[in-house]
Symmetry: C2
Subunit: 233 residues, 2 copies
Amino acid sequence: MKSSYPRPLVTVDVVLLTLLGGELHFLLARRESPPHEGEWTLPGGWVHPEEDDSTLASARRILQAKAGVISPYLEQLQAFSGPSRDSRGWSVSIAYYALVPADLTAPTPAPVKWFPVADHQPLLFDHKEILQAAVARLRSKTMYSSLPCYLMPEQFTLTQLQRVYESVLGGSLDKRSFRRRIEELELLQEVPGQVAIGGHRPAQLFQLMPSAYEGITFLGRVFDVTPSARALG
Amino acid sequence: MKSSYPRPLVTVDVVLLTLLGGELHFLLARRESPPHEGEWTLPGGWVHPEEDDSTLASARRILQAKAGVISPYLEQLQAFSGPSRDSRGWSVSIAYYALVPADLTAPTPAPVKWFPVADHQPLLFDHKEILQAAVARLRSKTMYSSLPCYLMPEQFTLTQLQRVYESVLGGSLDKRSFRRRIEELELLQEVPGQVAIGGHRPAQLFQLMPSAYEGITFLGRVFDVTPSARALG
DNA sequence: CTAATAGTGTCTCTTAGACACTATAAA
DNA sequence: TTTATAGTGTCTAAGAGACACTATTAG
């Protein structure tokens, strides 16, 4: 069987997620080339075979070039494919998602903008499906892992971390249970400083232990979420 | 940005899994064309843009053509990519994995053969990595879902199902706990017949409820496995 | 002082695991 | 009868959720 078949287009698209004002946001970039020049889409681009060692490398390059983000948490989501998802022809997009603290973005050549995931923006191509898959993956991993730590700044309080978990999961968690399980992970270490942001009793600051950067840690059990918000279908 | 870049090769590879003699096996097919003609590899092939509506459709077509298997449980695993994973050039393979009962295979044009996943066969390309990812995915989903039911024949006893879970997880499970959790799923229904295979007290036969085919059901909690075998690194 | 948030002690209820028990067949 | 497997009853220990309590700051 020779490859006499036309080759599909191969692109990489990245869903970049962060937390702004306690709400999960994703990044759109303004397209600089046709089709749909000037419209907002997920950061994406072609795979460059001479330059990229893998599609993960493509994702890293695209993220840096289009969103000014370097080495965040970056994980392959899945491949999306079909004859009509891209007007240029039968295409495969290897989708990735990335998590960054809200303050870890650098200036970018093209305009970029954060949108709340809860708002149902009309998106080009099948980008809405990709976005939903990314958010679903984050939620599902949040239930039983330390993944949301990658949305945090360098140092943070346990209450701040709990708020992040609650935002992502869309519900409220019990303080005692939350802290028990975070402690069990042995993932965070106190930093010998304090913060007084709330205005009242200062809270201990924590940071990820160096070992944490080797991979995400999994909790033994799923968090139960009290049925409140649970937004985004 | 024009697509002046050379397009990567796009293929689909499928890890087909089944249970033979209580052990997890995967299928290799003899290659009918260069490179490596005559050697054993995972069933795979090019995406046919004129014919396939998605890479999932490609996987179905390849599975039917090369392994004689129709509509099993089939799920995308992940994309593998790089300049040297295929000698023909920079390539992307969208990998899928599929589960079938041991008896649900039809005759095939090219020779196929089942191998135990525990045996460390040397495989071509990066197929060993793909196989390991498939087995890891199956294990991880088995912990908290009804996925192994797709490895079962039409009708089966609860003890047989438990043996399958134990094979996949590589350990032994408590009978009482296992049955409690399977019951909670409300996924199986009794068939009013009995079987006497063991030679002693006949066991009730069960089958998947019709609703089960809409998707796999997730258990609330992870199965604890007593540390025994846990084979395959 | 009060208010507000950080952090802890501890009770209860659920449930997984263990395991003994009964049930039903073959030989 | 014995033996082997199917299936159930039930105890116990661990742990999640609930929530009240103490601790420490601002005003």
